[in-house]
Symmetry: D3
């Protein structure tokens, strides 16, 4: 039934490559099937003005797509002079998701800037960004600990994200582009290793969705995120 | 327990004033307690380029806050030269919510532009905007029908929105500013008269939220939205 | 002769509602017939960089129109990314007009920011903004005095504004939209209670205007402003 | 009494050099004492969208200052990415002033773009721009007539501008920078050869100005503009 | 002598990976040592306005760096709202270099948009972009020929680019970041397979350079470009 | 052969007028035939943030063209809200060229801002800007020395610039607009009095250029720059 031949509850192949580029304290390429995102985490020994002198850190995120990461070429946001509403919405989501699992006092007065840049898009780029960025963040924290700048890890637990949706009447896990552009309901779920929700964003693209559908989607997401967190752990152990 | 003394499942006083300003085809002042939003619906006999010649209509929305609608003065977005990410996120949400209940083919090749401008803010401005804008949209449609430009109403059903959240450990309905700035979880729910979900956006501000909490919040929202739709109906009947 | 049936020297009905919104130190809704403007005055305990350390205060103003305050919807300036030349001209005029009656040394090193937002337009919005903003400014000053931050009132005298013009060959007071869009000469006059001119801006829309016409217009404005200052005083006494 | 030693009713030396640069259909350097402005008039065989197909022409204007035309260097507006409110106010004034003396139907469906660029500033740049731009406009019209594109001159009469003000209690004509930055009232007057007012913009910089002062200033301006129109005529005859 | 231990006339290892991403008609990863650039070529069946109806095609280019492609994080240009002068200079250079070897009439009325995005920077990104983009362009052309839209190849000959410079008094080929940030003269050379110069841009970073130095640098570049064109040919044959 | 009748190795008439405008520490009008550029040098007793506290100075440059300096009117960059890539490229070139001959430590912690504004364009504006700006810079330095703020001249030697190109197969010096818009190769050369290269930027507009052509062009430039430096010296001695 699914264009890719996957089972409704089946994730795409996940690959997480650490140390993908050289300069960032954390640098990860995450691939969810045909979706590929470079996630870097950059440590900066200063915080935004609203946090100056409060003894707390900050995690922020930016998101972008290469112009031809998509089927037809998109305008380059740097050239058009502003980021789209969609871009801003996504980077705000990534930032909130990661901040939810970091103890800002333990991080200390420094900022970690996450950059998620999509080099190839096949649906689910915002969720892949969160899942990959967590690993980059973990590596950046490890570099601070290795350098003696942090004595304990301010990350409380793993966080990952996945999309779920109703495609041709069936709840499915991890929508690819073909499914995403033709589904009735699209939901992005961000959860922790302990099974708590960090973000839950469901949108009815066609008909409104029911309470039963909501529950089925959340069940799928719950199981999918457990697998994604396993993939994160495997990568970090690698 | 609530700063306002309300019960956990109690909405603020809702007032919906139609024909609030003179020029727009639909013009509504919605008040949810101390939150006051002017919602106008403007009919334009053309559609955006991507819809030209397709025989379908469009509903779009913009959102703004007067600089001193808030406790301390915010910068005027027109002066700073761009809309914030929050503004863009909200206006995209309003547009999607209203489009979900409109039959675009029945609307025909015209656009209805919704403007939601907050003149006084006390929490829940995005939800109030959706609830009020629906009434303005209905009035604009009525003006098209009265003018003989539409023979049947392209609106399929009512839509309204409310925020819910976990405040001091208790799930509560319709957060005001004091609750909103001090809650653990904040969820905006957009539902139709038939009880379907159009949008569901939950965010853990502090600790992640559980499945049980999610269900309690959705229950509260469900009941609250039924009351808001009653208020819409009463206003439209008035 | 006038579309509204008014006498040439007759103002529209003036209504000034204080405490219109909750958060601003001064908040006024001024209505001049069908023109409605929300004017707020916000106290900020700092001054722009060019005044730092000089022991003087500042009064500044911004102006905006809700997109559907007008007959056909205008583009939202925040969305188009810049304020029009007209907007800038008007907000500069409002700021100058109010500064003319404030003793900046007596105000002390703080700034009062005026925001004038037109919610319904029917001509004369810039003049209504000045007349209404003066009352909001007065209320903001009163709040500073009540809080013991000022011992005496730095406002020297009342200031108000009105438009006059030559409509179908006749000098008339307080143009509404129909007159404004079809007049030969349009003049905005800002005067103090003592009858001094703060601003005088006359523009020949059609044929140039003569010295006699100028004098007739100024006479009309003079009388109109006296009435507007009475309305301000009545509102402040209310 | 005046820093320059001039009489109260004395203009600065006026020099108008036609054909100052090579490419524009009209190109004038106007010097009013130390103020020097290049005014060009460019003919474009098209009109702005709002005039398409109406058989009428348009005259528009832009204004700029070289960064070091002033005592201390100003930021280049092209580099800072926007024109100041002052710049926009001035270019709108120049455009209105010239349009007031042109018969747009007689001009036909074409636009004349005026550019006024200040290369040295010593007060009165907006007035010098109007006076100089009129000559450039006349030359551009002459080029259209010489090319057989216009059979009669759409310019109805001369227009020129001058500033007047109250300096140390005395009404004076044609303020230079020293006077302008230290005067009580500043008024810019735009008049036609027939003595009609096109624009009258008076601002009280310090104390409000009285009716008597207004009259004295207008008298000075009236006499000054007659001399400026003589200078325009002499240049055009040259 | 060189930080990398290379000989003065030795290129870094060059790797050109075709079909690097999925959607673009041409997609190449070029690696010059530690410098890695994704170059895509996108075919668009339309041309910019200035070429409409002329029967000629166009090749244009945009360039960007991921924020953490560099040692310390750069601001994202899409977020800061404009492209730097450096970025614009580089993308103009890439576009001119490729246009120099394409017969625009033979390409027909279509545009090929090149995007060069640096994912890891170690000096020489603009030259690597040109060398890699040529291969992506060749693949895009091949797709047009395979689709029967072009019957012959409009590319006249290969083009590639390399930097040369004077490092510690010695002319060296293909500067890496350490050399680039500490050299006296930096020259970027773009040449064709036939040995003609397309672009030659030399800059004295410290002392001016002499005619002899210029000649030595050009000799090095000439030999290096021959090797780069061999690498392009090998990749295209692969 | 040349449209102007000049010999291949013949410069246009050069005129350098110092003290062209009143306010800048250095102010020069340079005319190269029909190309006229106002170059000012403004002394500011502060440096950009990246140089604060390092005891070094800075020289920076901005470039602009009056809208009607060209054959057809260009859009005003201040109005369109950004500087073109060409403008940025040119102002970066001017800045680098002048910095190459200034001892920044000797200049001390102050900045000299160069503004080059083209009032009439006939080809070669960037080179004329550099040649003229050097004289303005020299005058600004002289003013600092006269004021006792500098005891010795931080300028190491003269610098000037000229364009050369291949026009109808023949290498020619100092291209005017007609040649520039119809040449095969265009090269801008910036050299010092001692004959060292500061910048060398050659571009093949049509066919690539050969080593022999490059050498012929550089020879022409070398001789031309010697004459330009003589003109600078004569102006400074005048």
């Amino acid at each position: 039934m699914r264009p890719s031949g996957r089972q409704p509850n089946q994730l795409r192949d996940v690959r997480i490559t650490r140390h993908y580029t050289r300069h960032a304290e954390g640098s990860v390429l995450i691939e969810m099937g045909g979706t590929k995102v470079i996630c870097t985490a950059s440590v900066e020994e200063s915080v935004p003005p609203f946090l100056k002198g409060k003894g707390e850190g900050w995690v922020t995120a930016e998101y972008g797509m290469l112009p031809r990461s998509t089927h037809s070429r998109m305008k380059r946001e740097a050239a058009s002079g502003k980021q789209s509403g969609r871009t801003q919405e996504i980077q705000r989501l990534i930032g909130r998701s990661l901040r939810a699992v970091v103890d800002m006092k333990a991080l200390g007065e420094r900022q970690i800037s996450i950059d998620c840049d999509v080099i190839q898009a096949d649906g689910g780029t915002r969720c892949a960004s969160i899942t990959g960025a967590f690993v980059a963040l973990q590596d950046a924290i490890a570099s601070l600990m290795a350098a003696g700048k942090l004595s304990s890890n301010p990350i409380r637990q793993h966080v990952a994200a996945v999309s779920v949706g109703i495609y041709q009447g069936v709840p499915v896990l991890d929508l690819d582009y073909l499914e995403d552009s033709d589904c009735d309901t699209d939901m992005n779920v961000v959860m922790t290793a302990a099974g708590g929700f960090v973000e839950l964003q469901g949108t009815a693209e066609g008909a409104p969705f029911s309470r039963e559908e909501m529950n089925a989607l959340v069940n799928l997401a719950d199981a999918g995120i457990a697998q994604l967190i396993d993939a994160q752990k495997a990568a970090l152990a690698g």
